[in-house]
Symmetry: C2
Subunit: 218 residues, 2 copies
């Protein structure tokens, strides 16, 4: 099974990388650069690919960034909100149409390479904040990918009904080196510990019953 | 009604521009540069916007081009096939996932600008060659656009069940300056007259019962 994976460098897509490799898939990983504030995540993704001998390419969509206004993650004039994911301010972190343009661009690569499927690590914890992480969005995009080319591509989001804690537990089973993943939205030298993404990461490790190895490092 | 239109510079999207303006829409036009062989079409699109006072932006996705292998329109190692659209060789002109990545990127702009709808000029003549011009693809993408953001975006492809001849007739009614549109896939100084796109354009003008003003110019 040839699978193209969108690898952000966060813990969810990193776990999915290890999951697909454990299933014996032939995996190519794709990162997307949209000049995200937390672009540091792509360095983590590259390192995960290097140690696993996985082909890694970055699609440079940085020219879109000037158009992605209003989100703290693509518009540097908007500060990253601090707090938990269930707070309304957290919607400021939503990048306009991010998952669709990442899927569409990585899907073009997958089709050109005649891959069987395109995978991404959306999970249920994101649903309340990110509309493009909802199962019905994945379903609509899945239908579009079945139709977009004479070579039909299967969209695969196996964590869509799992919480981030569930994903973290799965990552622990797969021995994912979580110290090589990046989550913080501020994207500084070390995680800020205050943004929604940091809060959610911390909660996921609590669910998995282990400490975050990244926090031990910094 | 605020509408973001994907304007290629071809005769279909040019007609749609005039149609939307005639309906009183507030239109922003978006071109997508994927290093298409026939990039000349974007110059036509820019000129159409200039004369209509329409905001025009080009999304630079040229970094994708190295990944869009196997198509004569994005991979210069593949020559443009000559002949009619109903010939199997014409599938060489299909750019992997082109409509999805154009829609996704322009959709991001539309969402950031809080537009009501995103329009593109796919028509039924393309269905036999381009899978991403089929009504069921538009329907799936329409559903994805309703779900991709808390601000719901309507996808609008009003020509999807019209032939190119029908679109050309509509353009004549709207006085579209077809001499400022570009169709030829070879993208030379003047249309080659031999590629599938040139053949289809010629047939459309025959249906509309007028000569092609571009051919009179060159």
């Amino acid at each position: 099974m040839k699978t193209v994976l969108i690898l952000s460098g966060g813990m969810d897509s990193a776990t999915l990388l290890y999951d697909l490799l454990a299933q014996g898939d032939d995996v190519d990983a794709i990162g997307v650069n949209y000049k995200q504030r937390h672009g540091k995540e792509l360095d983590c993704a590259a390192e995960l690919c290097r140690i696993n001998g996985v082909r890694w390419d970055v699609l440079d969509l940085s020219s879109l960034s000037g158009f992605l206004t209003g989100s703290s993650q693509s518009d540097l004039s908007v500060p990253v909100p601090f707090g938990r994911y269930d707070e309304p301010t957290m919607k400021l972190t939503v990048v306009p149409n991010r998952n669709m343009f990442m899927l569409a661009a990585a899907g073009a690569v997958a089709i050109a390479r005649k891959a069987d499927r395109l995978a991404y690590g959306a999970h249920s914890g994101d649903h309340t904040i990110y509309p493009d992480c909802r199962p019905e969005f994945v379903e609509a995009m899945g239908q579009a990918f079945r139709l977009c080319d004479w070579h039909s591509l299967q969209l695969c989001a196996p964590y869509i009904n799992m919480t981030k804690g569930d994903v973290c537990r799965r990552g622990v089973e797969l021995a994912v080196p979580f110290e090589l993943t990046w989550t913080c939205y501020v994207g500084g030298v070390s995680p800020c510990g205050k943004c929604g993404a940091c809060n959610e990461r911390e909660e996921a490790f609590e669910v998995a019953g282990i400490g975050d190895p990244l926090c031990r490092l910094v």
